[in-house]
Subunit: 386 residues, 2 copies
């Protein structure tokens, strides 16, 4: 096990009917900016529950934060925060709204001149404006971590940001929100969380037996609930396990003491930037090729995963490893998640070279748990994903 | 899954050579009371590491906190805290030292006249004096939770206490401390952590699939590392998994969203109070009888545990449940932990009746996950443990 530090101060308020309790979490004298997305919360009753809970508070609404939260849109919210002397942010939405709110939390207290520097210079946020969240789409885990990904549409780029100042003060997770989600978002959420676990697990054995088992536990649970959720999103038992699994998949716990990869995300982000493919689906395109390309360095963990998560008991380490990759693809397919780029766009030729060049231009230091994947390796992985 | 709230703000600093980093965690202007036990830290080098890390800080030492931290001893430390205007507490020890420090954290800021009231009136601590810990014995999980158990020798009683103000600000977990521990403490630690998981798991199915798997993960890991640790406590890989498993067994996570039992602890505490039997060993005495006595209400979870943790694949639910209890006993025996009261004392007759009467006298509301175990049930369980 590697040395590590772990601290996660976010308060989770989980379960049916919990949205009303947000009024206990926000200071009474706060001036709140409530942020949300495209308005689906007005159709599923969550908007009304939040507005009711905010009775007696001073608040302003900011709607229209898009999927893959855009820098230009966030700047408009930042202006309101400054003009209206906002003191507290409330994100009501999925990962995009929460990530956008994290950028605003940082930018609101940023002492520099241009908030763009937070992203482009990768400035760690030690203190942000306090914020809470009401989660409406289980997927990214942003509700219980201190990271965010922000998009700049103008340059087709995605930037990661974060820091200890960006944990939500509280997050309300009511699994009943799941019943109103479309199949596409449910499948995306399961795929996103599953791949989050893979990124923190599918490396090389580090004798972190407990972390490995926790990761396997999350994957087993996602596999167990996936068909139930897709068949009936109102199945509360499945929904609650889905929601909690997504949070635990990326709240920092399972990555402590182990090497992590994140190459699938790094490459996947480029596919979203270039083609607008849903984030989760880009992961399902890249992950299988990434694991096949790096079979030699990852085969021991792939085989452990094959045995423990998929119950594959026969074959050599390499055979079990390969079969485990196929099982993963089948799992994605079972949720109608396609796993090759050509199924999403006809314009895929040259993508591998383009992504590889972008990595080269940025002076990328090396991807993967061993930091030894070069842009030329990325090119081959993307080609294998066509 | 049941509704829940979860917040655990303790910062964990885990790994080899981490003790020196405690100097980054304590305010430079703090006036520290460093608390420890019987002096074993002076033999294994931890005392020296802590003293070196405290260079430049103002601190006083308080040695001699005994196992099952005694109220009378703690009052002496409380006097020093007040007389010397202490502002920060540093516990260097196992669960007893940390629990004692939690009582002091609470008592130091207690506004009432008599700190005894905190225990006897079960007063929840919202704000305590800040404290950190350097863990020297993995077992109780006290390093990452907000609860404590305090003993009053005079009346042979143990009292639980806690509250959100009693999370350590930081805890340093260096698995290298394990190599100096005697076999007895190693076996106790594994047994204690294992039973902590059982108390939060061995109830009835609550469709909390992820929490169940996390609990099973901890138990599987403890079973995996137990023989290695007992054979060679310097086995760092086993030691690090042992230490992290103990912490995760009782940091609040696995009990969220599920019913919990804790009858084994309630009864076990009485055996420590009456006979001075090590805490962990009292749990090993009571747990098997408790599960046999309550087989009907617990058999579904016992069978799940039997299948997933012990790999028992054949038999009816009841047969697997019973075999799982035997496997648990065998596990304790494999660590030289005896599981009947008569193996610890010849003076055991009448114990069942005595404990049952003590529960009756306290007006106990009912034990177990269904709160339906009466003192007469406790009497039978203890009798089965002779």
């Amino acid at each position: 096990m590697l040395n590590f530090e772990f601290k996660n101060p976010t308060k989770i308020i989980f379960g049916k009917g919990q949205i009303k309790n947000l009024s206990n979490e926000i200071p009474k004298d706060a001036k709140i900016l409530m942020l949300y997305g495209g308005g689906s919360i007005k159709k599923n009753g969550i908007y009304e529950q939040v507005i009711n809970a905010l009775e007696g508070f001073q608040f302003i609404e900011f709607a229209g934060i898009p999927a893959n939260p855009e820098y230009e849109v966030l700047l408009k919210a930042l202006k309101i925060i400054k003009d209206e002397n906002i003191t507290y942010l409330l994100a009501v939405g999925g990962g995009s709204v929460i990530d956008g709110t994290k950028f605003l939390s940082s930018a609101a207290l940023f002492s520099g001149e241009n908030p763009w520097d937070i992203l482009v210079n990768n400035i760690k946020t030690e203190k942000g404006m306090p914020f809470g969240t009401v989660l409406t789409i289980p997927a990214t885990g942003s509700e219980m971590n201190s990271g965010a990904v922000i998009t700049r549409a103008e340059t087709q780029e995605k930037f990661g940001m974060g820091g200890p100042g960006l944990f939500p003060q509280f997050s309300i997770l009511d699994p009943e929100v799941i019943k109103s989600l479309p199949q596409r978002q449910l499948a995306n959420g399961i795929t996103d969380a599953f791949t989050h676990v893979l990124e923190q697990y599918m490396t090389y054995p580090a004798q972190a037996y407990l972390q490995d088992r926790f990761s396997e536990s999350i994957m087993q649970t996602l596999i167990e609930i996936a068909p139930r959720i897709l068949k009936n999103p109102a199945d509360y038992e499945a929904a609650s396990n889905f929601m909690w699994s997504c949070t635990m998949a990326l709240n920092g716990l399972i990555q402590k003491g182990v090497p992590t990869d994140w190459a699938v995300h790094a490459i996947g982000h480029e596919l979203t930037a270039l083609f607008g493919i849903d984030h989760a689906r880009t992961l399902a395109i890249i992950a299988p090729s990434h694991y096949r390309y790096n079979l030699e360095s990852k085969k021991d963990k792939l085989a452990q995963y094959g045995k423990r998560v998929w119950g594959i008991n026969e074959g050599s380490t390499e055979e079990i490893a390969k079969l485990a990759i196929s099982k993963t693809e089948e799992f994605f397919h079972s949720m109608e998640i396609k796993t090759t780029l050509s199924e999403y766009t006809t314009d895929y030729k040259g993508t591998a070279q383009k992504i590889s060049s972008r990595f080269t231009d940025r002076g990328w230091a090396g991807l993967g748990e061993n930091k030894n994947l070069k842009p030329s390796d990325v090119e081959k992985i993307v080609e294998m994903s066509y």
